[in-house]
Amino acid sequence: MSSYRTHSELQLTALLREGDGEAFVEIYRRNWRMMYNSAFKRLRDEKQCEDLVQNVFTDLWERRGEVEIDNLSAYLSTAVRFQVIKHSTRTRDASPLTDTLESSLISSLRSEDPLIEKEILEIVKLWIAALPEKRREIFLMHYMEELSSSRIAEVLGVSQKTVQNQIATATNSIRDQLSKILFILLIAAN
């Protein structure tokens, strides 16, 4: 058993295909921490993370003869992602993955950290792009409302009046960028 410790990932994958239980356990030992942490970041529930990690592994064991795996850790990361997302669609329990989108979008409007701004801005863009048209309109209106209820409303107010100016003086500030994007999208949606 201990001899498997020195096996490469590739060797272990090949042994797993043969139905080698000890190779399977060694794969588990090497990867469970990464998977558990990864699930916890999105679910924040230790019991569920434990179940999830075990589900991924029992599934791997059951499909040991079928699955083609070139990169074991990438395969396991993807499996965790699917399980986390699957779990999020089923459960009524709160989890960061489903419940923090709105608050991160809103709080981003007040953020002063340029790194976070950049990342959230990217998420906002992708979110807007992913939403179906009707939903997108509603989201934008909702978001505008949020904007107007915050200090940012002033910025948006200015930009509504002088779009040209706004584009010309666009800074790295998320507020400015957001107002620009939202305004243009809102125009486009109408």
């Binding site: 139905g19 356990v25 916890f40």
Partner: protein, 398 residues
């Protein structure tokens, strides 16, 4: 204004992502949003080392149970493959005898056991590497749940768990042993031990061995119960002896032999594979010398009978992970099953008069081992474990 429910919108997109119908934009968003959590701190960094180990062990145990339960299918595949390769076909093929008439199950005769029948009823997992080590101070270590590495120090002797199913005693010092350790394999367990002198023993289920943590310069003496297979390291200056209860003693120099002293087996049988041993019954002054291939059977009345031409492979099959029978009656078969699957066996109606010959992998679940016997027309039922009970029940039907 209509409220916008972020959670609901997310779940719609998540569902499409899961069933593969997401648009590229939706997919891109899901992965970016999921990825944005990567920078969060990992929970395990906050756990103490022992907490992580416990969690790792707990999940590993659950996974091992899962793969053990899943074994029968793969074992059958292995058997079929062996036959296809023609590797010692007779050894892999199951030979089952039905009241004296022989049936050979060839490659075409072997098939996957009916999955439905197996899945329907309760089942019992096979035994595995389980044992408890009792140190001289009475402290007990459950060997199957500790990780590999050093377990304890007794005098100069260091005890290591070498791998799953094997512990070793090394560094035997000059101090003659007053400290005794005992290793006990429970029902459904087995274990192997390298003794302080380098001799190796294998314990079958419901068996134990007691030995000093350092042998004396004059002799090496151990006590056993149940069934133990020995491979004794040669040391002409220190004869090795095995005490079995108060009834029997075996003296050896360097040799391979098996002692079966289960109470329910009636006789204490000592079977020699290599070397030479002397069997002494208490009360019987005349020791009996065995040659390889011979078996001494000590009856309850204290008489020793010696038989030659023993199929030693059958005797030590358990050590090699197999059940092996040669025209064995149902009770002989079931005594082995009861120890390995940790079950009580109940006979409803008269005992079946059939005899059984053949090999069965000890890794299969009870249901499959019985399924194999049922090819001869044996009827059985496995009863679910009653709540709170650790022991299963096999009922043999007329």
């Amino acid at each position: 204004m209509k409220p916008f429910d972020h959670r609901q919108e997310l779940i719609i997109i998540f569902r499409k992502y899961l069933d593969g119908t997401a648009t590229p934009e939706e997919k891109q968003f899901v992965e970016a949003w999921y990825g944005s959590f990567e920078k969060e701190p990992g929970i395990l960094d906050n756990y103490p080392e022992t907490g992580q180990e416990l969690l790792e062990a707990r999940m590993e145990q659950a996974l091992r149970i899962h793969i053990d339960n899943d074994r029968p299918r793969s074992t059958w595949k292995t058997i079929t493959r062996n036959i296809r390769l023609g590797r010692v076909a007779a050894a892999a093929v199951l030979i089952l005898s039905l009241a004296g008439s022989w049936y050979y199950f060839t490659n075409t005769g072997l098939r996957e056991p009916a999955q439905t029948a197996m899945a329907a009823g309760p089942d019992l997992a096979p035994g595995g590497n389980r044992a408890v080590l009792t140190l001289s101070n009475g402290k007990q270590i459950v060997l199957d749940s500790v990780s590999t590495g050093m377990l304890a120090r007794q005098g100069n002797t260091v005890i290591h768990k070498v791998e799953d199913g094997l512990v070793s005693y090394t560094g035997e010092g000059p101090r003659a042993g007053q400290d005794f350790n005992t290793i006990t394999a429970p029902a459904g367990g087995k274990y192997s031990v390298v003794l302080p002198d380098g001799s190796r023993v294998w314990l079958n289920a419901e068996s134990s061995i007691t030995f000093p943590t350092a042998f004396s310069p004059e002799e090496r003496s151990v006590k056993i119960s149940g069934e133990v297979y020995f491979e004794i390291a040669k040391d002409a200056r220190r004869p090795f002896s095995v005490q079995v209860g108060a009834l029997q003693k075996v003296r050896v120099l360097g040799t391979h032999f098996n002692i079966n002293a289960y109470r329910d087996e009636g006789n204490i049988t000592t079977t020699l594979l290599e070397g030479s041993v002397e069997v002494l019954a208490s009360g019987d002054a005349r020791p009996v010398m065995l040659k390889p291939g011979e078996q001494a059977a000590l009856s309850g009345s204290g008489r020793i009978n010696v038989r030659g031409d023993i199929n030693t492979e059958e005797i030590v099959a358990w050590k090699n992970g197999m059940f092996q029978f040669e025209k064995a009656d149902i009770e002989t078969v079931m005594r082995q099953f009861s120890r390995w699957y940790n079950v009580d066996v109940i006979y409803e109606g008269p005992l079946p008069s059939k005899t059984f010959s053949g090999k069965i992998d000890r890794k299969v679940n009870a249901s499959e081992a019985l399924d194999i016997l049922s090819f001869t027309g044996l009827n059985f039922r496995i009863e679910a474990l009653p709540a709170g009970s650790k022991k299963g029940k096999i009922v043999i039907l007329p």
